[in-house]
């Protein structure tokens, strides 16, 4: 299990085999649910016909005592600046976080002795390496902070992971990103991916500022200047006056974005500068790691590993032959890493469908009761393809929901990637989002190279990297700089047949694929969520297995 801070999740191993992994938000319906993943654990157990009493061991992804120690230490070190946040931090630490292992035992109704603590960055490292296809690999973990560390260099062999070195606070790439995200008027720890999207619109004209704030040594280690940041004195914003002095005044919190804003270019240029410096520093870390391990394989995990621009940069310019980033690279992934490293087992991951099912039978009853038009279709693939070829969007639900933040073809809104107007309609009406964020394309392995540079690799099935588009056939899914966060699908994937049928119907082989959720909501998991989405979005039909539903 992971939880208590951000993106709680549970992963279930039965008799040495990974059988499920699920974020709490999909069950609780609270986006990025920071609580404990009791609901997710119960749902995974129920799916296997098990009860909590059958659970032999629970492995938590970090060490609550070391965590408390860090909060105490930093409160002392930052005195008196940290005084403002201290009472609240202590209330949370002593009121809940310290007792997290007890709360898990109570939540599941099992003895406390079955709950074991882990180590934050080791859980991240395990979440990538033990799910990778590699027998041995170099592992890089990068995030805001775990117990004490923000960055880890590791080596994996078989089911063993050994630490080669770690970097401690205040030197943290994740906290630098959090500060800039706050300066952009976005929610810290949530809006980082928007900053990454914004980077494509800018020029790195603030590179000298970020080179000053983020310095790197020959051995790959880096230092972050704490002056522009304020995670102790102002944890909600994360940045201080020094950042505004260097970059300009901060944007108002949650202000609407417009490409026509007079200061839009400034924000984009800052994002591009931060992204560029991040790329350089992560490449430096990866290179140093390669020198120490001589491995051709790299695994990356931690919140910063969700930065697919930086991953693409390491792939393009780094010394590794293969790079793997697991779909739930952030803290949710810690649950998976904790259980795999706790048991010392490997679980190479070939797909992301590890969550709960959507029951078409129950959906049919429920939809009928709600007065929706429900129809069982003979050939759902053909029906979906024909609908998409007519230039319409479709909500697609099949099998188990995805593990990680991305919609990877089991809970999706699909549309033609060639239809720019439809893309605009989706981004303004169906899935409102900042105007600088494009949707992602999905393409079969066989058509991949025709549309995108390079070939499908270990990251493309999980959308954890970027590629440049080769043509302008997919305007709805291509970013302003020609990049696309493309997903590649193989013959075993749910959408493979739909892509093939869509190509036959329309002559196009790329679809727009975005996760199935309303604004601010977690992605759809079960039939009730699916129908709730449908009620909120009349006009877009939904296909659940062979069930065609319209409001």
């Amino acid at each position: 299990m992971s939880g208590g801070y951000h993106d709680a999740a549970a992963a279930l191993v039965v008799d040495g085999v990974l059988v499920g992994a699920l974020q709490e938000e999909r069950i609780s319906r609270i986006k990025h649910d920071p609580g404990l993943p009791i609901g997710a654990a119960l749902a995974l157990l129920a799916q296997e016909g098990l009860s909590p009493q059958d659970v032999a061991s629970v492995f938590f992804h970090e060490d609550p005592y070391a965590h408390l120690e860090r909060v105490l230490l930093w409160s002392l070190r930052s005195f008196p600046k940290g005084l403002k946040a201290f009472p609240q931090a202590m209330r949370k630490q002593l009121g809940s976080d310290l007792w997290v292992l007890d709360s898990i035992a109570e939540g599941l109704g099992i003895p406390r002795g079955r709950i074991h603590k882990g180590e934050h960055h080791r859980s991240h490292a395990a979440s990538a390496f033990l799910c990778s296809p590699f027998e041995q690999a170099a592992i890089l973990t990068v995030d805001g902070v775990g117990e004490h560390h923000s960055t880890g260099l590791w080596q994996g062999q078989g089911a063993q992971i050994s630490c080669l070195g770690q970097l401690e606070l205040p030197h943290s790439l994740g906290l630098l990103w959090a500060g800039v995200t706050g300066w952009m008027g976005l929610a810290v720890n949530r809006g980082e991916h928007e900053v990454m999207g914004l980077a494509a619109h800018g020029q790195p004209r603030f590179s000298d500022v970020f080179e000053r704030w983020l310095t790197q040594s020959e051995d790959g280690s880096f230092e972050v200047d704490p002056a522009p940041l304020a995670w102790l004195s102002d944890p909600e914003r994360g940045f201080g006056p020094a950042m505004e002095a260097a970059l300009g005044p901060a944007r108002a919190f949650n202000a609407r974005w417009s490409l026509q804003d007079p200061d839009f270019q400034l924000r984009a240029d800052v994002a591009a500068s931060l992204q560029q410096r991040t790329n350089e520093v992560l490449l430096g870390l990866a290179t140093a790691l390669h020198e120490r391990t001589a491995s051709p394989n790299l695994c990356v995990a931690g919140g910063v590993a969700l930065n697919c621009r930086a991953i693409a940069h390491i792939q393009a310019h780094g010394p590794f032959e293969q790079v793997f980033v697991q779909p739930a690279a952030g803290d949710a992934g810690g649950a998976l890493g904790a259980v795999l490293s706790g048991l010392g087992i490997r679980a190479p991951m070939h797909h992301a469908a590890w969550g709960v099912c959507c029951d078409a039978g129950r959906a049919q009853d429920l939809a009928t009761e709600l007065g929706m038009k429900v129809e069982r279709v003979e050939d759902p693939v053909q029906r979906a393809a024909a609908h998409l070829a007519q230039g319409q969007a479709l909500a697609w639900v099949k099998g188990r929901c995805e593990w990680g933040p991305r919609g990877l073809g089991n809970r999706a809104i699909l549309a033609s990637a060639a239809d720019e107007a439809l893309g605009v309609r989706l981004s303004t009406q169906v899935k409102p989002r900042a105007p600088f964020r494009p949707f992602a394309p999905i393409v079969s392995n066989t058509s991949f190279s025709e549309h995108f540079e390079g070939r499908p690799d270990l990251c493309t099935p999980f959308m954890t990297t970027l590629r440049q588009s080769r043509n302008d056939l997919s305007p709805a899914t291509t970013h302003v700089d020609g990049s696309a966060r493309v997903q590649s699908v193989g013959p075993k994937d749910a959408l493979h047949e739909v892509l093939a049928a869509f190509e036959k119907e329309s002559g196009q082989s790329v679809l727009l694929n975005t996760s199935l959720n309303g604004p601010g909501d977690p992605a759809v998991a079960r039939e009730t969520d699916a129908l709730a989405w449908l009620m909120a979005h009349p006009g877009t039909p939904m296909l659940i297995d062979d069930l065609w539903i319209q409001t």
Binding site: Y5, Q88, N189
Partner: protein, 53 residues
């Protein structure tokens, strides 16, 4: 009381090497937490920021 396991693990953690210097501070805070717990109940506090706390 399963919470004794947590308390003993906590004390063991802080007795380690140089961490014992934090023990007096922790003791005072824990006492405060007990009073807080008695008076208001120890509820889950939603974190405003995951990054540090």
């Amino acid at each position: 009381m399963s919470r004794f396991q947590t308390l003993s693990e906590l004390v063991r953690h802080f007795l380690h090497r140089e961490r014992w210097v934090l023990l007096p501070l922790l003791g005072v805070l824990l006492l405060g937490a007990v009073i807080l717990g008695v008076s208001t109940g120890l509820s889950q506090v939603a974190p405003l920021v995951y990054a540090l706390f």
